[in-house]
């Protein structure tokens, strides 16, 4: 216990990315808004770059009461709830607009409460963007991916996704991906434009296929115990500030995505391939077994709601 300071409520917001990323900016905006509105009543501290805990441990630290807010990527929740695996399903959402419709709709909002049994509360979704395939060879149809080694985040769905097209999923730490790509120890990755640009993956990947095949989003979470203990007016203000910060972060994310995509195309070191409706249909066909495989855990109604969100 801190013997010297006695602030009423301290909120530690821990994340694993730099401060100039959409998520980093959203965290800082939240801190700003809270200070503006509640003054010294609540002290928000932001810890970027895994300074406090990495993505794997931050949820545990949150349950212990040592971190109040975090925003891990959606795949990190697979051991806490099976339902959020919906966001890893490949070729389910057509574009970011569909994702937004689903997340803001009743089913998406209900998924925010899917962690409650494990003591966590979702506060909202922060975008990073749609994922695309990058590789040493051009990939247009599912058969092009066969036999290639792709780096994935730890996630059963993502492993199944590559296995569905006879590709080889490899779990590797994000920090080692560049070297492994450069040396061709792995053939490709799946990442949103922002990661491909900021980690310079495009410099070592001659082809990027704009597949929009999956989503890399974050969920802002807090501990249920902490959330319920907050005084009502603080909780209301905090939720409002968080909603605004998330909206701002998502705005930044969209701009960043567009900007980074253009920078990659302009760099000329990599060729960006677009796929048409016909090719996309082939991928959807190849991936349908993956949806089926996880349907029981996720819920057929949830998957249907996501598919419905593709129609504006």
């Amino acid at each position: 216990a801190n013997l010297w300071a006695a602030t009423p409520i301290t909120v530690k917001f821990a994340h694993v990315v730099a401060e100039n990323t959409p998520k980093g900016k959203a965290a800082l905006r939240f801190q700003e808004l809270m200070h503006e509105r509640l003054g010294d009543k609540v002290k928000v501290e932001v810890y970027p770059n895994s300074q406090l805990f990495g993505d794997d441990k931050v949820l545990e630290a949150m349950l212990l009461g040592d971190v109040q807010i975090a925003a891990p990527s959606l795949s990190k929740f697979q051991k806490y709830t099976k339902q959020l695996q919906i966001f890893d399903l490949p070729f389910l959402f057509k574009d970011m607009a569909a994702v937004d419709r689903f997340q803001q709709g009743p089913v998406g909002q209900k998924l925010l409460t899917s962690l409650e049994r494990k003591g966590l509360m979702g506060l909202g979704y922060i975008h990073n963007g749609m994922k695309h395939l990058s590789a040493y060879d051009p990939i247009r149809v599912p058969a092009d991916a066969a036999g290639k080694k792709f780096r994935i985040q730890t996630s059963d769905v993502l492993a199944a996704q590559f296995e569905a097209v006879d590709a080889v999923p490899l779990k590797k730490p994000f920090s080692e991906v560049f070297t492994l790509l450069q040396t061709r120890a792995i053939d490709g990755t799946e990442n949103p434009w922002t990661n491909i640009y900021s980690k310079k993956f495009f410099e070592v990947q001659p082809y990027i296929t704009e597949t929009n095949h999956g989503l890399l989003d974050y969920m802002v979470v807090t501990s249920a115990r902490f959330w319920k203990k907050l005084p009502d007016e603080v909780r209301t203000e905090m939720k409002k500030a968080m909603d605004e910060a998330i909206a701002y972060g998502n705005q930044v994310a969209r701009e960043q995505e567009e900007k980074d995509r253009q920078l990659i195309i302009d760099s000329g070191v990599t060729q960006v391939i677009s796929i048409g409706e016909q090719e996309r249909a082939l991928w959807v066909e190849a991936m349908r077994p993956v949806w089926k495989e996880f349907e029981k855990e996720i819920g057929a109604d949830v998957i249907q709601a996501a598919l419905d969100a593709n129609q504006p």
């Binding site: 349950l63 212990l64 051991k79 806490y80 494990k118 080694k149 730890t154 490899l170």
Partner: protein, 199 residues
């Protein structure tokens, strides 16, 4: 006899953990290049093995004097004072262990309550974390043992590892070898001299 068996067992477990990690990472490389495949659970298992290796080994390190430290200052102290300083240091080490045991208890209780599994292995996480209390309990045992010996005057302090001293072993082996080689050559020369008729 029993003690020696435990010592040997401790060493074997540590050696096996290290060798297992090495082979597992090597196997991953081979799988990737020769069979164009991955081992999904390899990374997580390697990392947890490393944690078990270190936490299980920390107390062994105290026993065999593998930890490094600075003893130039304590060595300047008169013997009776040095004994008390060492006992105080050992008490601090025990406090350190106690704090971690308390922390580990809370942490593991929480993990037990929420009951989540490891990412790639069908094992509850709290089981994988049990090495925390095990490792720190073993440390407590070793520190108490050491404190008893210091108290009785059988030993003077922590046996801190000395890379210099270990390197000297290598030098001594080489010297011994050379000495025997030289004496052999001398002997050979002598016999040659004796056999060859002098002109």
């Amino acid at each position: 006899m029993g003690l020696r068996l435990i010592h040997r067992l401790e060493e074997n477990i540590l050696a096996i953990l290290l060798v297992f990690m090495t082979f597992l990472v090597f196997a991953e490389v081979v799988m990737r290049f020769v069979f164009n495949a991955g081992i999904a659970w390899a990374q997580e298992v390697t990392l947890y093995t490393a944690a078990w290796f270190v936490l299980f080994g920390a107390s062994y390190g105290v026993k065999v004097g593998a930890h490094i430290g600075v003893d130039v200052v304590v060595k300047l102290l008169p013997a009776p004072l040095r004994r008390w300083v060492t006992l105080t240091a050992l008490a601090i080490c025990l406090v350190y262990c106690a704090l971690f045991l308390l922390g580990a208890y809370d942490y593991i209780s929480l993990m037990y309550d929420i009951g989540i599994e490891m990412e790639d292995v069908a094992l509850p996480k709290w089981v994988a974390l049990m090495i925390l209390p095990i490792g720190f309990m073993l440390l407590v045992v070793r520190f108490l043992e050491l404190a008893w010996k210091v108290w009785r005057g059988e030993t003077e302090g922590f046996h801190l590892a000395d890379e210099g001293e270990e390197s000297m072993q290598l030098a001594q082996e080489l010297k011994a070898e050379q000495a025997s080689a030289i004496s052999q050559t001398v002997a050979a020369d002598a016999t040659k001299d004796a056999q060859e008729p002098k002109s």
